[in-house]
């Protein structure tokens, strides 16, 4: 039976400190009393955008949306073209990911302050905060935060006499997971269907209104203020290797204490699941867990996987999966992995934008096959059929990170679940599908 590490494991609260410690942390007065906009004030007085670049570069900050791209490198790629825009990606829709929602609803001023500093560093005068349509409360809170920041002179024209102008527009989506892809989000922001663009050009060269656009996740933008406060080098001391600092992880499923936990990179999954989250509900046995949201390969109950450290590069090199959106889903021994795989496939089939044939058709077929497999109607050859269908979406099914035949990474996402079934649960799947007659013979893939 998997057990705790026995260590005293704690969170490292940097980005989430205020929303835990301050009552009604979303109000201007409370956030301000806790130090909101002090860093922005100092940045304006220092008037040294290059220093922000240097600090963020020294911090090693990598995008917290899931792609892990170094933020400073993104900024450096900005061409010398104006106007340019900043877009904050708050379209959090990945199954079981809810860390951005916490920041949006409970600490909108941290987001606004981060946007101000980032815009100043990149000489941007207009920023858009794109929030998922379903975040009605989050939208109200961010709109109020921008209004309060504007009323107090932190946003607007000639901010605090610095000569710097910044206008922040809060934009609500309308229900489409695919808009979490930065180029689909830009399309949506332009009032179009949220369909990913073919890259290149990257948004940094031609984004919203075909102008250079920096797109950052909510957590990334909120972290920048803290990097400036701590100093980039100090921030980089946290974490391991190239995974510096902390990550806000959203942990859900069969753990005793689900929720958001701010983790310093380098903690093991054992420490996260069994110490931080108190282990499994009713002290049941762990069966499997998803270490990085819904789109990447799963891990199971074994020492190798549980003692894996929370590190973007290490987990990818050793176990072929990633930390993705920061979500960790934990399932106990009562869970049918087929049912979880089917529900994920159903999600991707529903959310496919329909542009690329492998994704539009493939996600639907994967969902249909997994539906019957998970509902007692599976046929003996279904797992092979599933692998064959998946190979049409992501040719080398078991390879991770996956091969992509589509414009955006949504296409191969359901294939991760199929690969995980094949890797860890093949015997269980075959047993579940043993009793139905085979109707159509399937050739081996």
């Amino acid at each position: 039976m998997a057990v705790s590490s026995g260590k005293d494991v704690r969170e490292t609260r940097i980005v989430t400190r205020r929303l835990h410690d301050v009552a009604n942390s979303w109000t201007y007065d409370n956030a301000r009393a806790d130090g909101a906009y002090e860093m922005w004030d100092e940045v304006l007085r220092r008037a040294d955008p290059a220093d922000i670049h240097a600090q963020v570069k020294a911090s090693g900050l990598r995008g917290r949306g899931g792609a892990n791209f170094p933020t400073a490198v993104k900024w450096e790629s900005l061409p010398d073209v104006f106007p340019r825009y900043l877009v904050i990606n708050g379209d959090e829709g990945e199954p079981s990911t809810f860390k951005d929602r916490e920041i949006i609803e409970k600490d909108p001023h941290a987001l606004v302050e981060g946007v101000c500093i980032e815009a100043y560093a990149c000489k941007i005068n207009k920023a858009f905060i794109y929030l998922r349509g379903e975040f009605a409360l989050g939208y109200d809170r961010v709109v109020q935060a921008v209004a309060d920041a504007t009323a107090n002179g932190w946003v607007g024209q000639n901010i605090k006499g610095s000569g710097f102008d910044l206008d922040i527009v809060v934009h609500r989506g309308a229900g489409a997971y695919i808009c979490g892809d930065e180029s689909a989000l830009i399309e949506s922001l332009e009032g179009k269907r949220g369909m990913p663009r073919i890259k290149p050009p990257l948004p940094i060269h031609a984004g919203v209104y075909a102008k250079p656009t920096v797109v950052n996740n909510v957590e990334t933008a909120s972290t920048i203020t803290h990097i400036m406060k701590m100093g980039g080098e100090e921030y980089a001391k946290l974490g391991v290797g190239r995974s510096t600092g902390t990550r806000v992880a959203a942990i859900s499923g069969h753990v005793k204490n689900p929720g958001i936990y701010e983790i310093e990179f380098g903690m093991t999954f054992r420490e996260i699941i069994f110490d931080l989250c108190g282990g499994l509900r009713d002290d049941r046995e762990l069966k499997f867990f998803l270490p990085g949201g819904a789109s990447f390969q799963w891990l199971v109950n074994c020492d190798e996987h549980l003692d894996q450290i929370y590190d973007i590069d290490d987990i990818s090199a050793k176990l072929g999966t990633t930390l993705g959106s920061g979500a960790i889903m934990v399932y106990d021994d009562t869970t049918d992995p087929l049912l979880v795989a089917w529900r994920l496939a159903k999600f991707y089939a529903h959310e496919s934008c329909g542009t690329c044939t492998p994704c539009r058709e493939g996600s639907g077929w994967i969902e249909k096959i997994l539906y019957r497999m998970s509902h007692g109607l599976g046929r003996p050859d279904d797992m092979d059929l599933l692998l064959s269908a998946s190979a049409n979406v992501s040719p080398d099914v078991m390879r991770a990170p996956f091969t992509q035949t589509t414009i955006c990474p949504l296409g191969p996402s359901p294939v991760s679940a199929v690969a995980s079934l094949q890797k860890y649960f093949r015997a269980e799947v075959d047993a579940a599908c043993a009793n139905q007659p085979t109707l159509i013979p399937v050739s081996a893939t």
Binding site: T97, G133, A176, E190, S252, V340
Partner: protein, 162 residues
Amino acid sequence: MTFTAKNLERAHAIIAQYPDPHSAILPLAHVAQDQDGWLTNEAMAEIAELVGTSSADVQGVCSFYTMYKRRPCGKLVVSVCTNVTCLVVGGPEVLHHLEARYGADDDVFVEEVECLAACGNAPAMQVNYEYHEHLTPEMAAAIVDDYKSGVLHARGVSGGSK
């Protein structure tokens, strides 16, 4: 229905925020849906005129997004999550209970939705985009009943402020 004078004023303020008026289509459709309870053809035609495009363009855009309802759906949109975390802690049971209970109720539109980002407190639902978490089927029904009787005050059908 077309925009009321107050909402038309809001619409112009929204359009003015963007360098390109076309960007205002989604926010304007939210305003229209909050006003009318669903997204009517007339509203989309008016949005098209306001942002300077065709009504076909606006319909094409709006039909992409699941939050826009293309037929009347009553006063309350009840969105129940059944995605992977809610799935294993009782989300489908909440959905089935509400579907059976309000199937014939014209005021309540029960829908199954994808992850609502409330997995820490699953199972979860939204009523007109207001979160309700840690549900049992009975609690969920009691909450919907409270909205129906006016004990709880609902947002607009598109989640607009109370």
